[in-house]
């Protein structure tokens, strides 16, 4: 007999029905004509029959339960998530996500309210805002109904430092001349424009002055307000004070409230001045500091305040001193 390569493979494929029809016919012809090949085919068929007739054993009864338990155990151990629990788990997870989102929103809301109460945007109220371009003072007056009172006397000192002394002093002098009646202010030496100005003026005049001074506040290197207390020699010092804060302090109706507000501003300005990153940014670029500096705190409550033109009592005693920072 001619040796046929891969005869066993051919016969096995024949047994398994894996031959093309032409090959199948060829093997049938070979088997019919060759007894040895036919015997080999029988042996292979016998082997196949033997294996395929082995009894089928049923799987142990608790496979399903064990699979569930195994998945649950893995889930508990923080391994792969259990698909059995996926449906319930998905709902639970969704609920937790929603709850977390709601809690987060609530937290953000509370935080925003707190931040807003501290660094609220400038609300154009009162005379300080009179010079503001975005909202005239008359609008503010129309929307609020302040109580008109005669404020307690205020006594204090405003110390300003600037590196552009002549310009600032000139501006202040002009502002005083324009807004404070000549009988309400005195300089220690009127011939020397850089000497401190002592003002004894009404709330109306003072607010007009502050509104004007607000325009040059950005040219100041520092501004410190010393508020006299009822205790002799004790002052509340508000550093880095803004014109608006000065107005907020001065416009309080009684000295106790005035001192409280001054102390609050002192603390908040101090925090604001020492915010992390401020120095780093300043070191990188001095000009960019103001861009990211949070606004100074202002009074946002509807406090009793002066109404321009209604209070002519000269009860504000303020000394304005401007010094050269160079």
């Amino acid at each position: 007999m001619k040796e046929i390569p891969n005869l066993d493979e051919l016969l096995n494929s024949f047994i398994d029905g894996e031959l093309a029809p032409r090959q199948h016919t060829e093997v049938q012809r070979l088997v019919a004509h060759d007894e040895k090949i036919a015997r080999r085919l029988d042996e292979l068929q016998q082997c196949k029959m033997f294996l395929s007739s082995l009894p089928v054993v049923e799987a142990p009864p608790r496979i399903l339960e064990n699979v569930k338990a195994s998945l649950a155990r893995r889930t508990l151990l923080g391994e792969e998530p259990s698909a059995f629990d996926e449906q319930i788990g998905a709902r639970h997870l969704l609920g937790r996500k929603l709850f977390a989102a709601a809690a987060m929103l609530g937290l953000v809301g509370i935080l925003a309210a707190v931040v807003y109460s501290i660094v609220a945007p400038t609300v154009p109220r009162g005379p300080i805002a009179a010079g503001r371009r975005d909202m005239p003072a008359t609008v503010d007056l129309a929307e609020s109904a302040p109580v008109t009172v005669v404020a307690a006397p205020f006594s204090g000192r405003l110390e300003l430092q600037t590196s552009t002394l002549p310009a600032v002093v000139g501006f202040i002098n002009r502002a005083i001349e324009e807004n404070i009646p000549s009988d309400e202010w005195v300089a220690s030496d009127q011939s020397k424009s850089r000497e401190p100005h002592s003002l004894i003026c009404s709330g109306e005049s003072f607010n007009l002055l502050l509104a004007r001074l607000d325009d040059i506040w950005d040219k100041l290197d520092s501004a410190t307000l010393f508020v006299d207390t009822e205790v002799f020699g004790r002052k509340v010092i508000v550093e880095a004070v803004t014109a608006e804060q000065v107005a907020g302090i001065v416009n309080q109706v009684d000295s106790t409230r005035r001192i409280e507000v001054a102390r609050d501003f002192a603390v908040l300005n101090n925090i604001s001045e020492h915010l992390p990153g401020r120095e780093i940014l300043a070191a990188i670029d001095n000009t960019t500091v103001d861009l990211i500096t949070p606004p100074k705190p202002v009074l946002t409550e509807d406090t009793k305040k002066f109404i321009p033109g209604t209070d002519a009592v000269k009860n504000i005693h303020l000394t304005i001193a401007v010094t050269d920072n160079q």
Partner: protein, 201 residues
């Protein structure tokens, strides 16, 4: 296998339900395939306890990876690929599969199953292989002879002759060429017969 007959839902439908997190669909897949997978694993690893554990591991792995099942091959071949791979890896690690338990002397002394097998393999036998295979002791000899095949050959023989897969399915499950399936099957059956004949000499 009765449960299989009762579950006629298409695999693709069940898989889609599994993707949607339907645990009942997962249970149906397990019930549908547990006996077949267990049998294949048992025939490859030859230890009922190990086979049960490997079957369980197979389904855990199937469930964990069901989302990654792309559907390029059928679920059936994909599931068996996982089962066979787990089992073959287990066999490679486990030295207990040296089949030392198969003692030729003992088989010769246990004359009855040996005689039946010998007669069956003698070519002149009129015995029906299917009925002989139902004998528990004969079955044990065959199973242990099967275990003497190397892993690759045993897997192909089991998938073809016990699970009844066609060559393409075997190639898919084992990720091998069709020609490799043919050659391994041919060598496996040949060697199995030689082993049985050697035992019964």
């Amino acid at each position: 296998m009765t449960e299989v007959a009762n579950i006629n839902i298409d695999d693709a439908v069940l898989v889609r339900q599994c993707w949607q997190g339907d645990s009942a669909a997962i249970e149906r897949l397990i019930l549908k395939y547990q006996n077949r997978i267990y049998n294949v694993i048992l025939k490859i690893c030859a230890d009922p306890d190990d086979a049960a554990e490997l079957t369980q591991d197979t389904f855990v792995k199937i469930i964990e990876n069901i989302d990654n099942f792309q559907g390029r091959s059928g679920f059936y071949t994909w599931a068996f690929r996982i089962a066979v791979n787990l089992t073959l890896n287990y066999c490679r690690r486990n030295t207990r599969l040296g089949f030392s338990s198969l003692d030729a002397e003992q088989i010769r002394e246990n004359s009855q199953p040996g005689k039946v097998l010998k007669e069956l393999l003698s070519n002149e036998s009129s015995l029906d292989p299917a009925s002989v295979a139902q004998d528990k002791e004969v079955c044990q000899i065959v199973l242990e002879s099967l275990k003497k095949l190397d892993d690759a050959q045993r897997a192909v023989v089991v998938l073809r002759d016990i699970e009844g897969m066609n060559y393409n399915q075997i190639a898919n499950v084992l990720d091998i060429e069709l020609g490799t399936v043919r050659s391994r099957l041919s060598r496996g059956r040949k060697k199995l017969r030689q082993i049985l004949e050697a035992i019964l000499q």
